[in-house]
Amino acid sequence: MDSVIKIIPLNAYIILSAVIFCIGIVGVLTRRNAIIIFMSVELMLNAVNLLLAAFSSYSGDANGQVFVFFIMAVAAAEVAVGLAIIVMMYRNTGSVDIDLLNKLKN
Amino acid sequence: MTIDIIFKLILIASIFGLSLVTAMYSTLAERKFAGFFQDRLGPDRAGPYGLFQPLADGLKLLTKEEIIPESANTFLFLAGPSLAMLTACMTSAVIPWGTYIEVDGHKLPLQVADINVGILFVFGVVSLGVYGVMIGGWASNNKFSLLGAIRGASQNISYEISMGLSIIALVMITGSLSMREITDQQSGFHGMNWYVIKQPLGFLIFLICSFAETNRTPFDLPECETELVGGYHTEYSSMKLGFYLFAEYINMFISSAVMATLYFGGYNFPFMHDLGLSQNVVAMLGVGALFIKILLFIFFFMWVRWTVPRFRYDQLMRLGWQVLIPLAILNIIITGGVVLFFQ
């Protein structure tokens, strides 16, 4: 089986990750549901992971893949805390809308 | 090259068929054993000793009316059981069913894919198994189903941790994540160098976690009839329900196979290399040995089901978090110490 790194140019992967990354950014900027925003952030992190793995494989350097491993670990920790925060907020307000809190305070 | 591919296709087909048949007859066996444990006969009308009962059940499920609740999300409602079935069948790809057989000088391993990270693959697929339950339970739009789905999710997440930890202790001894290599390592001492001897605690934890992951009694809270009217599959009928039930039995079969492979020597059987038989015969006998081990495990699953009562929810959580996880960590520490000592 011929490896993909001999056929597809690296630029294709750079552009693919850039596209996914920007979709994530747009998601963060346009949605109001905290969980969806958070999922968009996960999308961004995955774009980063993909790009790191691509760089690492194309240059034959394992460091990049180890970094991906760390990003995954951090993402897992962030998810645990983030969802706890969202649950806490839902308990108090009954909603996960990020703009609602401003209204409640005033 | 072509013979390899043809052989792989035959292998896949026969594994798939075997798991289906085993699952089918597990249902009959379960009812028979239930009858035995409760001092009654069990099914005995369809065919001699009720042997055609699974076929009759299948026919019944296939011909029953399809009911999809009006308020349910149709696509997800259908996706739930399909996902459950899919994840149940995926694991069998990395299990080594036997050594290899020789045809025309070709060595044909009895394993669909010997991937480098076999155990991780099994673990990953097991952790995906919860999606079938969750999506089905949510899509039904029924509070009992939702409760069952949430219970299923939290139970699976909780027990996955100790399962992973017990696997880590095993991997520390084997130094490999490939299922085939782990099985081959157990062929020493006349085919009886099984890892259950070195990892008794790890095996016990793994066993309990497999019960929880397959939602079998005493961990069948996601579907308990008395409180949740069937849990996540309350709203399901006909073959969709059949898929859920079937997936449970396939899961039981597969987790038995994984346990047999990891801890009970897989296709190794005592004195396998001392009998002086040809390679093909040894391979076939090995497959037979593996299946005997699997069937024993399946019997154990049923034995437990008809003996032990169901846990309460808080007991389930306490067992997972306060007993199994510390035990699994202790197991890792002991294993690490022993491995270092003998290095």
């Binding site: 001999k6 998601g27 549901n33 460091n63 645990a80 806490m88 703009d99 | 952790s127 699976n156």
Partner: protein, 164 residues
């Protein structure tokens, strides 16, 4: 192989778009799951087996289950989500699009590593990665455990109901 790449790339982008576009959070999660699956596919194409397995277990098996769990737990329905004003949405899309434009424009000629070099395709195997991880990256690995401890404290502190 190149067909595989294009198929997976197309799938990843399409489902990533759907994550952001659909209203129902549950559907978003399922589309995100598809994105992760296709990214796992890319890892397999790289022969990065360990990453593929970990992506499977961590992202699909743990993180997304948690998301799904929380959404079901809170019983959020897509129809009730208030929308941002069109202006904000427009601005968000424009800024994201601009960033994409700048990135793609500059990446187009950014060939950093020449194609077809004889690189080691075995680096993604678990033995190799384990060596790098536990020799060079031992300190960050240990610090990651501190991070998990923090996350554990946080989850218990914030999500549990107070006792008096």
């Amino acid at each position: 192989m190149d067909k595989m790449f294009y198929f997976l790339a197309f799938l990843a982008i399409l489902s990533a778009l759907m994550v952001v576009l659909v209203k129902n959070p549950i559907h978003s999660i399922l589309y995100l799951l598809v994105t992760f699956t296709s990214i796992t596919g890319h890892y397999i194409l790289f022969n990065a087996q360990f990453l593929a397995a970990v992506n499977f277990i961590v992202y699909m098996g743990a993180i997304m289950v948690l998301f799904l769990f929380v959404i079901m737990f809170l019983n959020l329905n897509g129809e009730t989500e208030p929308q941002k004003s069109t202006l904000v949405k427009f601005a968000g899309v424009i800024s994201g699009g601009l960033l994409l434009l700048v990135m793609v424009a500059s990446f187009k000629k950014a060939v950093t590593i020449p194609l077809n070099t004889e690189v080691d395709t075995q680096i993604g195997l678990i033995k190799n990665l384990g060596m790098v991880l536990f020799k060079d990256y031992a300190l960050p690995f240990e610090l990651a455990s501190v991070l998990f401890l923090v996350a554990m404290i946080g989850a218990v502190m914030l999500a549990k109901k107070d006792w008096k």
